[in-house]
Symmetry: C2
Subunit: 137 residues, 2 copies
């Protein structure tokens, strides 16, 4: 599992080698050991990469992700700032899940009627009455 090239690591994580280099350039991944000028990665690096992928997929920016991975090294109270950011992001994640849930409901409410679009049939959307001409059953 250890001592992977960037190509091998990228294949396992299902992303492009260029993305891995980009993460390194942005301080998300540490500068790895090299052999013959080429980067070599361990399974620990893979673990870290998976955290990065999860964070980015969950909507974190590269800067936020870096902060969570590396902390606030330059401040007087790094842990306190970390917790403050974490708290904010936890709230944002809740909001995002709520939005996804609402969008799901909107889609589902239209899925089982005859309307081929949300524009004609808006039943299920908060407070909206059916638009005239909607083929809603």
């Amino acid at each position: 599992m250890s001592d992977m090239t960037i190509g091998a690591l990228a294949r396992i994580a299902s992303l492009a080698p260029s993305a891995v280099r980009y993460y390194e350039s942005q301080g998300l991944l540490p500068k790895p050991a090299r052999r013959g000028g080429q980067r070599r990665y361990s399974s620990q690096d893979l673990g870290r990469l998976r955290i990065i992928q999860l964070a980015l997929a969950a909507g974190f920016t590269v800067a936020e992700t870096r902060t969570f991975l590396t902390g606030f090294s330059a401040t007087v109270a790094p842990a306190a700032r970390w917790r403050a950011l974490a708290k904010r992001k936890l709230a944002e994640l809740d909001e995002q899940m709520e939005r996804c849930s609402r969008m799901k409901k909107l889609l589902e409410s239209n899925f089982h009627c005859k309307c081929p679009s949300l524009a004609n049939c808006e039943r299920g959307f908060a407070g909206e009455r059916n638009v005239e001409g909607s083929p809603c059953s």
Copy 2:
């Protein structure tokens, strides 16, 4: 509620007038009536705008959102295609909620220990052992 200018509509929806014009240019909003050359919006337009905002916030692209709003007008089986896309997006929304949930757990697991970063303290992350030197309690 009806007969709003673009500025009024944008203020209510908490976005920039330029964003509303952009949505119109992308076919998300219909071309509104005009008075003295200026766009006038109804509360129905506001309803549609709120759907757009929800869809985009939930991770839909502009093109996907347009499809859900306007349907597939040029195909032989619009409703069938609409349903196929809706089904795919419902699955994607589930995945996104799952990712958010996993990220929340990762953040929470680190929130209550002494680590000021995820890099040092990775407890709670699937399969990961504590990194040596981690101040994890």
